[in-house]
């Protein structure tokens, strides 16, 4: 049951939640800029494409809608469902100001509001590209239907993806809240689910891998949104499918909302089971440290552990860092973004070249190394939360920073070496190259581990990245993640390329260091002689020298410089982190 006027209240809740999201994003200028850039650039490319190929598109005549188009839309929809599910499970199963909302309006109102807010967020992302596409189609074909039907198809696509994602997300959240087994193993089960989802995505996008392409998804009704969007254009879709997708969407809206209401109501008013094995600790299974003292932290992180020889403050910070990661794996969501962005591109190009293993070893040496550093220490002060003042007056900077680095050194470093080495062997690299890749991974991990506390302490995040995540999860700032990611992966990638494709590395460096600045300066000078032109010539000469230098000497020089810089950066970062911690003044 719901209160009278629940529909009006739903709109109010949805709009209010959406406005809060916008404000949260607006307050994080770097994030807002990146998001805006992510929307504007593809839209500009689309505008350019439509403008350049307008004649060719118009002259193509009537074409029937290819299966790959439906398959691509279906894949896009499935990706949307994955994101919505993941958000519902990890970030938004509970509502902000829960006691207020649940004593003020009905669960149906809250659910409706959350669905509306999430749909508005999706549509905000889609608005500009959809607008450009609609304008382009109208410009190309003079189709007045498209003014209505393309946005309608986008709205229905977004809404149904959000609804199905939330149905699945709340089902998972409810399972975690009611099943002790799932609650206890949610990290492992969640990891498996993500791997399965990513595996499915790769199967569809990389036909070389499993022989299944996006066309296979064309049979799914969720790909039929495009049949609706192309009505009135020379692209011939199916009217039956277009009508079916509209009717089906309406069914999803009604059924999905009812299901989410049922699940969310049960979830919000259920006492969640504990995932901790509390009975064991109560029955005296807490381990003892040398000297017979209780070891609750050591017991909690078992079977992982920190060697006893390490000083107690450092050991405690390391243990707490491990425990925090284990108990709150949602805080690691930020790792997925750059890994998926860069990783999928890498795998895609590698697949097209030879086999997946040829890129897996260098990708592991670069990406896994970054993750090993970022996992434990990229937002240490923010994660301390309200405890930060106590931490600052309880421990020295050197003990604290060493404690943050320790889990990465103990677990990240061997893992990177093992995975990179294993992948290199399976990838049939020659032994020296395999060893070189392990070395790259080792060095990159060292840099990632030592720089993470420095960057994290320098740019801490104390508030949530967006609404709904604020209760427990405090991810690092986007700028912190970006700085650390680029700072670690750029030189590591260069080292890997130097090892595997030295000629390519030489060309790249000559271009980036010499020819590109030279070209830009020449453009800026307008072809006239002067200081800009002289500096441009100097850069051009530098590019030529790099390009024409002997490959082996170039390789040794650049690799030597990179390795030396890695040690210097690691040392400086370590000291900077300590000094910053020792002098840190927490915000009021």
């Amino acid at each position: 049951m719901a209160e009278t006027n629940w529909l009006r209240h739903t709109v109010r809740v949805g709009v209010f939640e959406f406005r809060r999201s916008v404000r949260a994003i607006w307050e994080d200028k770097a994030r807002a800029f990146l998001m805006a850039a992510g929307l504007v650039f593809p839209s500009l490319i689309l505008v350019g494409f439509i403008y350049l190929f307008s004649d060719a598109i118009r002259n193509a005549g009537v074409v029937s809608l290819p299966p790959i188009a439906r398959g691509t839309v279906a894949l896009f929809w499935l990706f949307g469902v994955f994101i919505a599910t993941q958000r519902a499970v990890s970030a938004r199963p509970r509502i902000d100001a829960e006691p207020l909302m649940l004593t003020t309006v009905s669960p149906r109102t809250v659910v409706g509001g959350l669905v509306l807010a999430e749909t508005l967020r999706v549509l905000a992302y889609l608005a500009l590209p959809v607008l450009v596409l609609t304008g382009g189609v109208v410009y190309l074909f003079g189709s007045v239907f498209s003014v209505l039907l393309i946005p309608l198809a986008a709205v229905l696509l977004g809404l149904t993806a959000v609804l199905i994602g939330m149905v699945l997300g709340y089902a998972v959240a409810l399972l975690i809240a009611t099943s002790p087994f799932v609650a206890r193993h949610k990290t492992v089960l969640g990891g498996i689910a993500v791997l399965v989802a990513m595996g499915g995505y790769l199967l569809m996008t990389l036909p070389q891998f499993g022989g299944i392409g996006q066309e296979s998804l064309a049979v799914l009704p969720v790909g039929w949104f495009i049949d609706l969007a192309v009505i009135g254009t020379p692209v011939q879709g199916s009217m039956v499918r277009a009508a079916a997708v509209v009717g089906g969407s309406l069914l999803v809206v009604v059924g999905g909302t009812a299901l989410i209401e049922y699940e969310a109501t049960r979830f919000w008013f259920t006492d969640p089971v504990s995932g901790d094995e509390g009975d064991e600790t109560e029955s005296g299974r807490i381990a003892s440290e040398p000297g017979g003292t209780r070891a609750a932290l050591a017991d909690a992180i078992a079977p992982a552990g920190i060697p006893a020889g390490i000083s107690q403050p450092t050991r405690r910070v390391a243990q707490w860092s491990l425990l925090r990661t284990r108990r709150d794996p949602r805080r690691l969501n930020f790792l997925l973004l750059p890994v998926v962005m860069v990783g999928s591109g890498l795998i895609s190009s590698g697949m097209q070249a030879t086999s997946p293993w040829t890129v897996f070893a260098p990708a592991s040496a670069v990406l896994l190394a970054w993750m090993a550093g970022a996992t434990f220490a990229i937002n240490p002060l923010g994660e301390e939360g309200a405890v930060l003042p106590v931490t600052l007056i309880s421990i020295s900077g050197s003990d604290y920073v060493r404690g943050l680095m320790l889990p990465g050194l103990l677990y990240g470093l061997p893992l990177v070496a093992l995975v990179t080495g294993g992948a290199a062997i399976v990838g049939a690299f020659e032994l020296p190259v395999a060893l070189g890749l392990v070395g790259v991974g080792f060095l990159a991990t060292m840099v990632a581990i030592t720089t993470a506390p420095a960057v994290g302490i320098w740019f801490p995040r104390f508030s949530a990245i967006s609404i709904g995540q604020s209760r427990e999860v405090i991810p690092p700032r986007l700028v912190t993640t970006a700085l650390h990611f680029l700072g670690v992966t750029t030189p590591a990638t260069l080292l890997a390329v130097l090892l595997l494709e030295p000629r390519l590395a030489q060309t790249l460096i000559a271009g980036i260091v010499g020819f590109l600045p030279a070209a830009l300066l020449q453009l800026a000078s307008g072809g006239e002689s002067g200081m800009l032109s002289d500096v441009g010539s100097w850069f051009h000469a530098l590019g030529t020298i790099i390009q024409s230098s002997g490959l082996e000497s170039f390789r040794l020089t650049v690799a030597g410089l990179l390795i030396l810089s890695a040690f210097v950066v690691a040392g400086i970062s370590y000291r900077v982190a300590i000094r910053r911690f020792d002098n840190y003044t927490p915000p009021m």
Partner: protein, 255 residues
């Protein structure tokens, strides 16, 4: 009919009993001081009475509505939990306008009431137009209090309403609680600040280990039955909550 009535209200979390066979009857238009040490089950009781947590067994009504019928319950109650339920990105004005809208309160009347209440709590229009993220703990508490009583509920549940407030604001809250009761609102007040309870409560209930171990007016609770001399409410509270309820129960059974 009492404003709040519970019969054998019980809540178990696994093998732990948070609230055990609670029987309460709070008269209409009175202030009920709900005391108890940390972990006694006060917040669980409040969450059950506001419909946020389902009881394991027993029944309860608030303003005549069953606590399991949340749709009937909601219009009658206001709730200020210990952690003020506010949105960091909103200003006080925006937050209160939003909540008032969800309760379909008339706009002009609500604005007047918001202005009046904020003024009484020394929250200036400038403060009220500032983001809640920039508020002190006391300012948040004030806004959350206004939010809880804005719709003039029949029963208002206040969990530590004076927490984080300066003496002046705490006194204003005490006065507002008394005024609420004078106007017929029933106030269910949980706090550790015993002078607040002593000043405003008509009846005091003491919860210990999930069970109601004492219930009376503050005057009677502070009088020793045996000697007739008086003690402070704090002394009474400490004496009552220093007895093991299980032992006490066994003694009563065998005695």
């Amino acid at each position: 009919m009492p404003a709040i009535e519970t019969t054998s209200l019980t809540k178990h979390y696994g093998s732990t009993t948070a609230v055990d066979q609670l029987d309460l009857a709070v008269a209409d238009g009175t202030v009920y001081g709900f005391l108890g040490p940390n972990g006694a089950g006060k917040t669980t009781t409040m969450r059950m009475l506001t419909g946020l947590t389902k009881p394991t067994s027993g029944t309860a009504t608030v303003a005549g509505a069953s606590i399991t019928d949340r749709d009937s319950l909601r219009p009658h109650i206001g709730y200020l939990p210990e952690e003020p339920p506010l949105y960091e990105q909103a200003t006080a004005y925006e937050q209160l306008e939003y909540v008032a809208g969800l309760r379909d309160l008339p706009e002009q009347q609500t604005q007047n009431r918001v202005d009046e209440l904020l003024d009484r709590l020394d929250l200036s229009p400038g403060d009220a137009a500032t983001r809640i993220a920039d508020y002190s703990k006391g300012m948040r508490q004030k806004v959350a209090y206004v939010q809880a009583i804005l719709h003039d509920p029949d029963v208002v549940f206040l969990d530590e309403p004076t927490s984080g407030l300066d003496p002046r604001a705490a006194r204003t809250i005490r006065e507002l609680i008394s005024e609420l009761a004078d106007r017929g609102t029933t106030v269910f007040l949980s706090t550790h600040i015993l002078p607040v309870v002593e000043a405003v409560a008509d009846t005091v209930g003491i919860l210990y280990d999930g069970r109601l171990v004492a219930e009376d007016s503050p005057d009677r609770l502070t009088q020793r039955a045996e000697t007739g001399d008086t003690r402070t409410l704090e002394e009474a509270f400490l004496e009552i909550t220093s007895v093991d309820p299980v032992e006490d129960d066994a003694e009563a059974t065998h005695g």
